[in-house]
């Protein structure tokens, strides 16, 4: 085991797969010599050269379109979209072309590609550089959607995404890039579509994703002091969704909370809530409660941003009040 930062784990995941498979190519803005604006791809250019690690113009549609065209003709491209907010500038490519082409051609076309993107708030970048947009991707049939909460998963899930024969969007939480954690030595791949129970408690189930997982864990420690024991499910993958784990844990505890960094409406937690309200209804002992950013764009100032995003304290208060 080595201790790596999240950003180092990302680079390690890409390197592992580029080493293994010569058809893996990586493109994006300022990703080559510069090593990416979040320094999550440092060293790749030096190691794999300018053919396999290429800078692009500021042309998000061309970046994603190029990845699609390459994937359908034999490469396994990885495209970086610098901030997930910019997915909007190439959303047609993602939601209408990449997501639908295999289906429309009834399987003639395969699209083994990965879109990596820096996601989420907490860095005072303001409303156009801080969104948590996993739900945009989850809402589009044909896209797989992954988000890691720690360095080991950052590497393992990214590696799996690169190997996956279908398009995968990998959301990397900006607020996690600096955190460190143990990453298994040697080849490391985590299967897509498997959630992880990271804490076991009998009183309620808290489902969280990416940067909300450490917050939920922090909250659970505090709740434990009050005698409330929470199970925490780290979703890791929104599509495919590990409904078995979610439903099992909800049924065990009878209570469900979601912790979502996104603004409320149509967040992934709504989908989880509707799933539980249908398939675990008889086991529910109380309302399903979602803890989200309010339905507003994210403000820039530190005090505002911190107050808007779900915090451990807000999780504690919400759970406590409703149990």
């Amino acid at each position: 085991m080595a201790e790596l930062s999240f950003r180092e784990a990302v680079a390690a995941g890409i390197a592992q797969e580029m080493e293994r498979d010569p058809l893996v190519y990586f493109i994006g803005e300022d990703v080559a010599a510069a090593g990416g604006v979040f320094k999550a791809t440092v060293g790749l250019f030096e190691r794999f050269g300018p053919d396999r690690v290429r800078d692009t113009p500021i042309s998000e549609q061309a970046i994603i379109g190029a990845a699609m065209g390459a994937a359908m003709t034999g490469l396994r491209p990885i495209a970086e979209i610098m901030f997930s907010d910019f997915l909007a500038t190439c959303w047609d490519m993602i939601a209408n072309q990449i997501a639908k082409t295999r289906y429309m051609t009834d399987g003639q076309v395969s699209l083994p590609l990965v879109i990596r993107t820096a996601n989420g708030g907490g860095t005072r970048f303001g409303a156009q550089h801080s969104q948590s947009l996993e739900n945009w991707a989850m809402a589009v049939p044909g896209l797989k959607v992954v988000a890691a909460s720690n360095p080991a998963d950052a590497k393992g899930l990214l590696a799996a995404a690169i190997r996956d024969p279908d398009p995968v969007i990998v959301f990397e939480q900006k607020s996690l890039y600096g955190i460190k954690g143990e990453v298994p030595d040697g080849e490391h791949v985590e299967p897509l579509g498997v959630a992880k129970v990271v804490r076991d408690g009998k009183d309620c189930t808290i489902v969280a994703l990416a940067a909300m997982v450490p917050k939920a864990i922090e909250a659970a420690e505090q709740l434990s002091a009050d005698g409330i024991e929470a199970t925490i499910v780290d979703l890791r993958s929104l599509v495919p969704l590990d409904t078995q784990t979610i439903l099992r844990e909800v049924k065990k505890t009878g209570r469900l909370f979601t912790v979502e960094e996104n603004p409320r409406l149509c967040g992934w937690g709504a989908e989880i809530a509707s799933l539980a309200a249908d398939e675990a209804f008889d086991d529910l002992d109380g309302p399903i409660i979602r803890i989200t950013t309010p339905h507003v764009p994210l403000p820039a100032a530190d005090v505002l941003e911190d107050a808007a995003m779900p915090s451990a304290q807000r999780i504690v208060d919400t759970v406590r009040k409703s149990m």
Binding site: R52, G65, A66, M72, G74, M93, T105, D106, P240, Q244
Partner: protein, 337 residues
């Protein structure tokens, strides 16, 4: 702007190639006519966009392409797809929503695709396939396969952002891709000159990407074939992309719902007189190809279309279980475990 229509010194094109060009144009024409008849018979599901009158472009390029080259086209893509060798019956059946359709009914007229013949898809959102074609060319470049991607699109497409991004990237990366603008003078119902800052929507913009303007008569199969040869050869040699503007006209409306009434009579007459097939036939006759040989080609084309129609008509409706198939590579549509 005063980009001139190029008249390449028509090099000798051999007889066989010319007959192949003629045959292909006639087949595409007959296919589209039949598609229109099937629509009148109420057998075509959804919309369809015919390329009647634009056959010289698809034929010229298809004949010049290597079997493993890539074609990317639009919803007006029956011709481009068939020209690469895709099944006519599969195309008709797809228009009719049948299980024996090229896409088993899942795509429809706007999305004809036949990957094994290099027909990499028909794209129905304006501009999207230009970056995708560049991507296929990028793949060919790094795989050193020698393949070329050819990407067809309309005049209206030159005003969307994806056009600009794709052209720039293709030039910067020197990709083996040929962008072919089929300028038929109209978007859906709106004349292109009313919404475009330059006279020649593609040719007058070539310089913005460091490219030479190439403006050609898109209704002349010889010219299109030669243009295809030079631009494909350039791409294949590693010298990078080209942007071609081929002047043409669609004989009918934009889509099945459109009678095309917004077009001045005189304009329509003028272009019908420039029908690429009529012109080419006259040229072949003038070049001493016997009438009977041409008539034979025409008869065989009709027979081919008749047979394909029959095969398509005999298909069963699309299979409902296909709905939950092929979202993913494992064949399934599963989003949960």
């Amino acid at each position: 702007m005063s980009t001139q229509v190029k008249k390449p010194a028509t090099a000798e094109i051999d007889r066989e190639t010319r007959l192949r060009l003629y045959q292909l144009m006639v087949e595409l024409r007959d296919f589209e006519q039949r598609a229109y008849e099937l629509f009148l018979e109420n057998l075509v599901r959804g919309t369809s966009h015919l390329a009647l009158g634009q056959e010289a472009i698809s034929a010229g390029y298809a004949v010049a392409m290597r079997p493993d080259d890539y074609t990317f086209c639009t919803y007006r893509g029956h011709g481009h797809t068939l020209a690469r060798g895709a099944s006519m019956a599969g195309a008709f059946a797809e228009l009719m929503g049948r299980g024996n359709g090229m896409l088993h009914g899942k795509g429809g007229s706007m999305h004809l695709t036949d990957v094994k013949h290099g027909a990499m898809g028909s794209y129905a959102i304006v501009g999207a396939h230009l970056p995708i074609a560049a991507g296929a060319a990028w793949s060919a470049q790094v795989r050193k396969s020698g393949q070329v991607a050819v990407c067809f699109f309309g005049d209206g497409t030159t005003n969307i952002g994806a056009f600009h991004e794709a052209l720039n990237l293709a030039v910067v990366w020197k990709l083996p891709v040929v962008f072919v603008c089929e300028n038929n003078g109209y978007m859906e119902y709106t004349p292109i000159e009313s919404v475009t800052a330059v006279k020649h929507p593609a040719a007058d913009r070539a310089a913005a990407y460091g490219l030479e303007p190439i403006l050609v008569d898109g209704n002349d199969a010889d010219i299109m074939y030669e243009t295809a040869q030079t631009t494909i050869a350039k791409a294949r040699s590693g010298a990078g992309p080209s942007l071609v503007e081929a002047l043409t006209y669609r004989h009918g409306g934009h889509s099945r719902a459109d009678p095309g009434k917004y077009r001045p009579d005189a304009e329509l007459r003028e272009w019908l007189a420039k029908d690429p097939i009529k012109r080419y036939r006259e040229r072949l006759v003038a070049n001493r190809v016997p009438e009977a040989e041409l008539a034979g080609i025409e008869t065989r084309a009709q027979e081919k279309v008749d047979e394909a129609t029959e095969e398509a008509r005999n298909g069963a409706p699309a299979r409902v279980d296909a709905i939950e198939r092929q979202v993913w590579s494992d064949g399934s549509a599963r989003w949960r475990n």
